[in-house]
C-alpha cells in the first residue's frame, strides 16, 4: 500500500528579550546554574508576574511577518502540572486567546517554487527550568536559569507531507525570526525547539491516522532523520496490521531511532484557566501599525528584490537571503564593485567553502565585503585571472592585506600588454620548431589540441601571469604565420 505522511510542527522559539517574560532577571544562555533566577522565577510565595512589553512586541512582529491576524486582546492562562523544574506548579501560557492568530507562511523550496504553510496560531508563554540528570550521582539537579525565558510557540496545520517540506519550513522560520531580530534561532542551544506531529494514512484517505509527537528535535538534520525513522517505524507497524499508539516520543540521534517517552502527558489534564495575576493584553491598531513600520525587509521580499534588481537566479537569490548577514554582505560587496553576479558566484563558491572549512558564519568572515569587492574589481578589469584570483583570495583570508596589496607583494599582476606577450610567444615559437611544423601541417581539430602545448609553455614562462585570453588570440595569429 502507498502511505501518505501527514505532519504538523510546533516550534518553541526563545525570544531574545533582555529580561525574562515576567521578571527583571537577565535572559541569557549559558550562565552558572541558578544565578539568573529571581524570586519571581523561583515561584516564591507572594511573588507576582509583570509582563515584558518587548516580548509582546516581538510576538506582534512575528505575526506581522507572516501576515497573520494579531490578537488585539490576548489573555494569559495557567497550564497546571507538577514537575520539579516548573517552580509554580503551573506554566503561564496563552490557551484560550493567543496573541497571534491564523496566517499563511510561504516557504521557498529548492526548486524555486513556494510552499504555503498554514500557521494555526502563535502564543506567548514562559519556558520552564531544566532538570540536570548527570551532575550528581543518583540525584537530579534543577537549574532555573531558563525558567521564565519568553517563548513564542508557533503551531502549524498538518500541512507537511515530506521531510524536505518540514526542513524548508524550519529554515524559512529560522531565517524570518533572525531577520526580525526576535530570536537568535540557535537550535543547538535550544532557542528553537521543534516538536513534530506525525501520522500515516493510506493514500487517498481523508481522515488522519493516529499520530505520535516527536519532542524537542534540535537540528535541521535531526528533523530529517527523525521523520525518516518514525515514518518507517509507523509504516512497519501499519503494514503488519498493527495500531499506532498516540504518545510522545524522543529522537535518539545516536541510535537513529525514536523512543517512547515515559509519558507524563497521556493522562495529563492541564486544567487551563485565565491567569488572574495578569490583565488581558490589549493592542490597538495604532500600535500594530507602529510596529509594522519598524519591520525590516523580510526574506521573501528580499529574495524577489535580488532577482529583479541584480539579475540573480532563483536558486542563488534564495541561498543569499538565508540570513540577513549573508544578504547584507552580498549587497555591500555588490554595491562596491558593481558586479553582483561575480559577487554571488564568489560568495556561494570559494567564500562559503572557506567558511565551511573554518566552521564559522558570515558574521565571523575574515574577508570583508570591501575586500571581496576589491578582489572582484581586479578580476573584472583583467588584472587577475581566475586562477590567480583564487590565490589572492587565500591571501586575503589569511590576513595578508587587500587584493591590491597582495598583487603588489607577490607581483601577481596579470600581463595584458601586447608587446610583452608577443615577446614571450615569439620566444616559445623559436624554441619549438618541430611542434610549430607539426601544428602547421595538422587539420583544425588537431591544431586545437596542439595549441594547448604552446599556451602551457607561455603560461609557464610568464609564471601564470599572462592573460590567457590574449595569449590565445596572439598565439593563433603567430602560428598561422
Amino acid at each position: 500500500m502507498n502511505w501518505e505522511v501527514v505532519m504538523g510542527l510546533e516550534v518553541h522559539l526563545q525570544l531574545a528579550t533582555r529580561s525574562k517574560i515576567f521578571s527583571g532577571a537577565a535572559n541569557h544562555f549559558g550562565a552558572e546554574p541558578n544565578v539568573q533566577a529571581c524570586a519571581i522565577d523561583l515561584g516564591m510565595p507572594g511573588m507576582l508576574p509583570v509582563l515584558n512589553e518587548q516580548a509582546v512586541r516581538f510576538a506582534v512582529m512575528f505575526g506581522l511577518g507572516i501576515g497573520a491576524e494579531i490578537g488585539k486582546r490576548s489573555v494569559f492562562d495557567r497550564k497546571n502540572y507538577f514537575y520539579p523544574d516548573l517552580p509554580k506548579g503551573y506554566q503561564v501560557s496563552q490557551f484560550f486567546e493567543p496573541i497571534v492568530g491564523a496566517g499563511v507562511f510561504d516557504i521557498p523550496m529548492p526548486d524555486g517554487s513556494l510552499f504555503p504553510v498554514r500557521i494555526t496560531r502563535a502564543h506567548l508563554e514562559e519556558d520552564a527550568g531544566k532538570s540536570v540528570h548527570d551532575a550528581f550521582a543518583g540525584q537530579t539537579g534543577i537549574d532555573l536559569n531558563r525558567a521564565g525565558t519568553p517563548l513564542l510557540e508557533i503551531v502549524t496545520e498538518p500541512d507537511f507531507r515530506t521531510a524536505e517540506q518540514a526542513v524548508a519550513y524550519l529554515k524559512a522560520l529560522h531565517s524570518l525570526v533572525t531577520y526580525l531580530g526576535i530570536s537568535d534561532g540557535n537550535m543547538a542551544e535550544g532557542s528553537m525547539r521543534c516538536d513534530i506531529n506525525i501520522s500515516l494514512r493510506p493514500e487517498g484517505q481523508d481522515t488522519f491516522g493516529t499520530r505520535t509527537e516527536i519532542k524537542n528535535v534540535n537540528s535541521f538534520r535531526f528533523v530529517e532523520r527523525a521523520i525518516a525513522v518514525e515514518v518507517e517505524r509507523q509504516r512497519d507497524i501499519l503494514e503488519d496490521g498493527g495500531h499506532i499508539v498516540q504518545e510522545t516520543r524522543l529522537f535518539d540521534a545516536e541510535n537513529n531511532e525514536t523512543r517512547s517517552m515515559r509519558s507524563k502527558e497521556v493522562a495529563n489534564d492541564y486544567r487551563y484557566f485565565p491567569e488572574p495575576d495578569l490583565l488581558p493584553v490589549i493592542i490597538d491598531d495604532e500600535t500594530i501599525e507602529q510596529i509594522r513600520q519598524t519591520l525590516p525587509e523580510l526574506p521573501n521580499d528580499k529574495r524577489n528584490r535580488l532577482i529583479h534588481d541584480y539579475g540573480l537566479g532563483d536558486y542563488d537569490a534564495a541561498l543569499l537571503v538565508d540570513s540577513r548577514a549573508l544578504a547584507d554582505y552580498f549587497e555591500a560587496a555588490a554595491a562596491l564593485c558593481g558586479e553582483p553576479k561575480l559577487v554571488a558566484n564568489w560568495m556561494l563558491g570559494d567564500l562559503s567553502a572557506a567558511l565551511n572549512r573554518a566552521d564559522i558564519g558570515i558574521e565571523q568572515c575574515p574577508v570583508t565585503p570591501v575586500a571581496l569587492a576589491g578582489l572582484i574589481q581586479r578580476i573584472s578589469d583583467n588584472t587577475l585571472s581566475s586562477k590567480l584570483a583564487k590565490q589572492v583570495f587565500e591571501g586575503i583570508w589569511q590576513g595578508q592585506g587587500s587584493a591590491d596589496d597582495i598583487i603588489e607583494q607577490r607581483g601577481l599582476k596579470q600581463v595584458s600588454d601586447t608587446g610583452a606577450l608577443e615577446g614571450m610567444i615569439d620566444e616559445v615559437i623559436a624554441k619549438n620548431p618541430d611542434q610549430v611544423a607539426q601544428y602547421r601541417a595538422a587539420d583544425d581539430n588537431k591544431r586545437k589540441k596542439l595549441s594547448g602545448f604552446f599556451v602551457g609553455q607561455i603560461m609557464k614562462a610568464s609564471k601564470g601571469q599572462a592573460n590567457p585570453q590574449m595569449v590565445n588570440e596572439l598565439l593563433l595569429k603567430k602560428l598561422a604565420g
Binding site: A39, G46, M47, L48, P84, P87, G89, R271, F273, D277
Partner: protein, 490 residues
C-alpha cells in the same frame, strides 16, 4: 488623656507621640508586655518580633525628636502572617511554611514601615486564609477576647482579636471572601476591605488572586482612614493594582450624610440572619437616618448564588496558587521520599491541613476537563451577573448597608465538622469580593455581650464614602469604644 495606652486609637497615640507625651519605645514596650502577659489565653500572635520592634521604635523616636515624623511614626502594629516580612518567618499559619523566612517584604509591609510604624509581630489566621473561624491554623485556634470559648472569626482572626484585646491599635488583614470584615464584626473592631486593586498584593501569599485584597483592621474608622493612606497606591510589581488617584482618606471623614441614599438589600435580612442581629442592624441604620441619610430598598437577587460561585472560583485559583508548595524548593518536605511522586504526595498531605486540602481538591475538580464549563466557566458568568447586580443597585443608592455576618461569634468547634455551615458565615461578604467593591464592617451593637458588625459597601474606589458614613456613626455611638473585659486591666 486618661485612657490606658492599649485602649487608645492610633490617632490618639500619634498625637501623644508627636507631643512627646510618650515615646515609641515606651509604647512598644508596654504593648509587647501586654502581648506576653495575655496572649497565652488568646493565641492571636504567632511570632512576636520584640528585638526588631524595639529597634524600629528607637528609630521612630529619633525621627520624632527631630520633628521629621509622619502621623504613623512610632505607632505599633501587627501583620497578619500572610504578609511576607523580610527575615521574619511568614507561615500563613501552615505547617507547610512553618520554616519559611522570606528574603523580601510585601509592598504593604514596606509601605507601612516607610510610614514609620513599628511592627510587633505576626498574627494568627486560618491556614492560607481558608476559613471563617481561625480554627484551621497550624498553630491552634485563636480565641475571641469577648468570650474565650468562642472564635474570633476568620481568616484574619488573630489580627481582629489582637486589636480588640489592645495588643496593637492597628493590624493588617486580608479579605478574599470576608476575612477582614467578618472577624472585625465578631471582635467588635473596624475592618475595611478596599476595592480590588487599591492595595498591592505583591508579597502577600496568594489564596485567590482575583479576590484577595489587603486592608486595615483598627479601633476606629478614622484609624482605618489613616492606615489606608499608608497602604494604598499603584504598584508596578502588581499588574492588577489600580492606577487611580489616592485621596487623603482622613479628609473624607469630614462632611455630613444629608440626603445620602443607603441601599438596604432585602436578601441581607432573610432567614439566615439571626433576628437579634437584625434588630441591632436596624437600630444602627436608625442612627444614620437620624443624621439625614435616606434608606432605599434594593435588590441583590443573586446573593445566595454568590456562595456557590465563590466556592468554585476561590478554590480553583487556590488550587493553582498552592501548587508551588511541592516540597522541592522551600517549605515543608516529607522525610525520606521514595520518588518524585511520593515527595509531592506526602509533602503536601503532611504540610497542608484538612480545609486547605479540601479546597485544593474542590478547585482541581472544578477546573478538570469535562467540568470546566459546568463549574469554572459558569461561576465566571454568575460572577459577572453579581457584579452587574451591584452596578444596578448603585443606580438608586450611594452606599449599601447590612450585616457583616449572619450571627455573633460562635463556639470553638461548633462548625468545624460542617464546612457548609462555616461557608455561610461569609454569605453577606463574599459577593463584595466577587464584584471587587470596597466593604467595611464597624461595631454596631451587641447581642448577649458579643459584638456585631454593620457592613457598608461602596462603589468601586469610593472608600471615602464608607469612611465618612462610618466615622459619622462612630461620632454618635460608642460601640467601637466597648472593650472586652479580658481579666483585670493592666
Amino acid at each position: 488623656m486618661t485612657s490606658e495606652l492599649h485602649e487608645r486609637s492610633a490617632l490618639e497615640l500619634s498625637r501623644a507621640l508627636q507631643e512627646r507625651e510618650i515615646s515609641s519605645v515606651e509604647l512598644t514596650t508596654a504593648l509587647l508586655q501586654r502581648i506576653r502577659a495575655r496572649d497565652d489565653a488568646l493565641n492571636s500572635v504567632i511570632t512576636v518580633t520584640e528585638e526588631q520592634a524595639l529597634k524600629e521604635a528607637q528609630a521612630a523616636d529619633a525621627l520624632l525628636a527631630r520633628g521629621e515624623a509622619g502621623p504613623l511614626t512610632g505607632v505599633p502594629l501587627l501583620h497578619k502572617d500572610i504578609f511576607c516580612t523580610q527575615g521574619v518567618r511568614t507561615s500563613c499559619a501552615s505547617r507547610m511554611l512553618d520554616n519559611f523566612i522570606p528574603p523580601y517584604d510585601a509592598t504593604v509591609v514596606s509601605k507601612l514601615r516607610a510610614a514609620g510604624t513599628v511592627s510587633l509581630g505576626k498574627t494568627n489566621m486560618d491556614e492560607f486564609a481558608m476559613g471563617s473561624s481561625n480554627e484551621t491554623s497550624y498553630y491552634g485556634p485563636c480565641h475571641n477576647p469577648w468570650d474565650l470559648d468562642r472564635v474570633p472569626g476568620g481568616s484574619s482572626g488573630g489580627s481582629a482579636a489582637a486589636v480588640a484585646a489592645g495588643f496593637a491599635p492597628l493590624a493588617t488583614g486580608t479579605d478574599t471572601g470576608g476575612s477582614i470584615r467578618q472577624p472585625a464584626a465578631l471582635c467588635g473592631i473596624t475592618g475595611l476591605k478596599p476595592t480590588y486593586g487599591r492595595v498591592s498584593r505583591l508579597g502577600i501569599i496568594a489564596f485567590a488572586s482575583s479576590l484577595d485584597q489587603a486592608g486595615p483592621m483598627t479601633r476606629s474608622v478614622a484609624d482605618a482612614a489613616l492606615m489606608l493612606n499608608a497602604m494604598c497606591g499603584v504598584d508596578a510589581g502588581d499588574s492588577t493594582s489600580a492606577d487611580v488617584p489616592t485621596p487623603n482618606f482622613l479628609d473624607a471623614l469630614s462632611g455630613d450624610i444629608q440626603g445620602l441614599r443607603i441601599g438596604i438589600p432585602k436578601q441581607y435580612f432573610s432567614a439566615d440572619l439571626n433576628p437579634r442581629v437584625a434588630t441591632q442592624i436596624h437600630q444602627a441604620l436608625g442612627e444614620l437616618t437620624a443624621r439625614g441619610a435616606l434608606l432605599v430598598d434594593i435588590d441583590l437577587p443573586h446573593t445566595h448564588q454568590g456562595i456557590a460561585t465563590y466556592y468554585v472560583i476561590a478554590p480553583a485559583e487556590a488550587s493553582a496558587n498552592l501548587s508551588r508548595f511541592d516540597g522541592v524548593r522551600f517549605g515543608y518536605r516529607c522525610d525520606n521520599p521514595q520518588d518524585l511522586t511520593d515527595l509531592y504526595q506526602r509533602s503536601r498531605s503532611e504540610g497542608f491541613g484538612e480545609e486547605v486540602q479540601r479546597r485544593i481538591l474542590v478547585g482541581t475538580y472544578a477546573l478538570s476537563a469535562g467540568f470546566y464549563d459546568a463549574y469554572f466557566k459558569k461561576a465566571q458568568q454568575v460572577r459577572r451577573i453579581i457584579s452587574n447586580d451591584f452596578k444596578q443597585a448603585f443606580e438608586s443608592c450611594d452606599v449599601i448597608a447590612g450585616p457583616a455576618a449572619p450571627g455573633v461569634a460562635f463556639k470553638i468547634g461548633d462548625k468545624t465538622s460542617d464546612p457548609l455551615a462555616m461557608y455561610m458565615e461569609d454569605v453577606y461578604t463574599l459577593s463584595v469580593n466577587l464584584a471587587g467593591l470596597p466593604g467595611m464592617s464597624i461595631p454596631a451593637g451587641q447581642v448577649d455581650g458579643l459584638p456585631i458588625g454593620l457592613q457598608l459597601i461602596g462603589r468601586p474606589f469610593d472608600e471615602a464614602t464608607l469612611l465618612r458614613v462610618g466615622h459619622l456613626f462612630q461620632e454618635s455611638t460608642d460601640w467601637h469604644l466597648q472593650r472586652p473585659a479580658l481579666g483585670a486591666s493592666q
